[in-house]
């Protein structure tokens, strides 16, 4: 019976989370109005942000808010518009419509950029400088006090695992090492907002793990992280909230739990009931037989306890109840196919 209890507990947890977050396409707020500036402004706030390249609409009326201190995952398939959004936020490109605020300042504001670390999708550094020199150059551009440079540079190198290669020229670095250096550059000067555009695209499994640790470290010290990725397990591991975008439109925004919790799957092993006993229980979800397991798909997590009660009431011996969290990948594919 202990398994059933566990299932019950899960259900309670789930429903608590369920109530908290709205899951909705983000086109809600009124377009055209300029976002208001407040004392503790969100890290990122956009209203109907739009970018067209000729006939292509790369970003289509995107409205979203990223709170301070959050790790925000920006997910979408290739060509969804993720990089374009980042470029708009940093002022590398100009929006063709809508507007936004980053750290309370207009898009591309020069002073706000002092507080932003950015790892571009296409990362390359001065090949003839050493890693230390590149980092020092950025300390200088950030106008950090000179006495802090060595400390900053050293800790950045340590964090991204390049301490031993600090005095080597960047031109001799592998692609993954250059991406690590890029991360180090983005971490300099304790930025309030760190924007990472596919930070693990060139990294090995160890590097990917390191990046997760770095992101968690950033969250712990209160930085906001905006993480662009199409690697869902990456988002699953570190993000507090995510937005899923496709063809420039946000199709879902919310906490990861909320995004995934709408429905889930439960695997059951039940003895003591005859053949076809589940035909009367179709209201809980779609039933499927898999070996000696019965699988209920699309069940509302809060109803798992009711299901177990119903089984017991029918005289069933519940041997195992295993709720399966929907993977982000499954949810992602589902969201994309719904459109």
């Amino acid at each position: 019976m202990s398994q059933a209890n566990w299932a019950e507990g899960t259900a309670v947890e789930r429903s608590a989370v369920d109530g908290e977050a709205g899951l909705h396409g983000a086109a809600g707020s009124s377009p055209g109005t300029r976002p208001s500036q407040s004392a503790v402004s969100p890290a990122i706030h956009t209203v109907a942000l739009t970018k067209r390249f000729g006939a292509t609409t790369a970003v289509n009326s995107l409205s979203m808010t990223v709170e301070r201190g959050e790790v925000f995952g920006f997910l979408g398939p290739n060509g969804a518009g993720k990089t374009t959004v980042v470029k708009l936020l940093l002022g590398l490109a100009r929006p063709t419509g809508g507007d936004g605020l980053v750290l309370g300042a207009p898009l591309g504001d020069r002073e706000a950029r002092r507080q932003i670390g950015y790892l571009p999708e296409l990362f390359r550094f001065q090949a003839l400088l050493t890693a230390r020199e590149v980092l020092r150059l950025h300390c200088r551009l950030l106008a950090l006090p000179k006495h802090a440079w060595e400390e900053e540079v050293g800790s950045a190198l340590l964090t991204v695992g390049l301490l031993k290669r600090g005095n080597d020229r960047v031109g001799t670095f592998s692609k993954g090492m250059q991406q690590r250096l890029g991360l180090g550059v983005a971490l300099l000067g304790t930025p309030a907002l760190v924007v990472l555009d596919e930070p693990t695209s060139a990294l090995d499994p160890v590097g990917r793990h390191d990046v997760r640790e770095i992101i968690r470290g950033l969250r712990d010290r209160g930085s906001t992280v905006f993480l662009n990725t199409h690697l869902l397990e990456e988002a699953e591991h570190v993000c507090d909230r995510v937005a899923v975008i496709d063809k420039g439109t946000a199709i879902a925004t919310g906490s990861l739990d909320a995004l995934l919790a709408r429905q889930s799957t439960v695997r059951l092993r039940v003895g003591g009931l005859g053949e076809g006993w589940w035909s009367e229980l179709g209201r809980f979800g779609r039933w499927r037989r898999q070996g000696e397991w019965n699988v209920v798909e699309g069940i509302d997590p809060s109803r798992i306890a009711d299901l177990v009660d119903a089984l017991v009431a029918r005289g069933g011996r519940v041997e195992a109840v295993i709720p399966e969290h929907q993977t982000l990948e499954a949810r992602f594919l589902e969201l994309l196919s719904e459109r």
């Binding site: 590398l92 571009p120 551009l141 890029g182």
Partner: protein, 278 residues
Amino acid sequence: MNPTLIIASLTIKEAVRRRLLLAFLSITVVVVGLSAWGFDRLAHSQSLTSGESNLAVPQALILFMFMLSFVLALSASAIAAPSISSELESGVLMTVVTRPIRRSEVLIGKWLGLAALLAGYAVGVCVLQFAVVRIVSGFLPPNPVLVCVYLFAEGALLLTLSLLLSTRLPAIAVGVIGVAVFGAGWLGGVVGSLGTAFNISALRTIGQIGRFLLPTDGLWHAAIYYLQPASLIAEDGGSRQNPFYAQGAPAWPYLLWVACWFLIVLIAAVASFERREL
């Protein structure tokens, strides 16, 4: 440090590491070394009277300086051509322009760094060449410093133009345009002096317009003027169609225009870079 100066010193550092200056200077040393032999033959030739050789050495020097000015201008174009476009393409500039720095500071910083390199090269070339000629033949141009200044200005002109083009065009295209522009500027000067010599107003007009649109040849002629000894000016009054002869010192309104030209092209470069979406 000022952001502009950070970029300028970065530009210089990268060029030094790339051994650009070293490569240019070593080629120059070889070429100037060879020219020493030529000037020595010319100065001590048995078949020339001493009066003739007094004219021949400066004229040969002018021709030689023309070649060096060509090398200088093309080097300027070559080092400026990849500065913006290639770094945008590779992504190197992405992390720089997203720092608290203006695009104009990035561009002016690059311009300053490249111009400093060019100035170093121009000074090196002039000192070397004038020293060699002086030692071998005893001749020193009447105003070697101004020669150097105008040669530098001529190179800086192509450098600035190339920087403007590199905000939009790939490096190879900029390099090719740089060569073409230099050639066209020189040809415009030749056409103009032919027009003056034979009194053909259409040619003269082309020359005049060319001098304003692209002051490379105007600056080259300013350099020539300060290379010519008084004896050559007295002697050569009749040969106005000679494209390697300057009648007078550069007029100050023209120099003012050249200053404006620099300003206009530099402002255009900044505007073009600022508008560009990365």
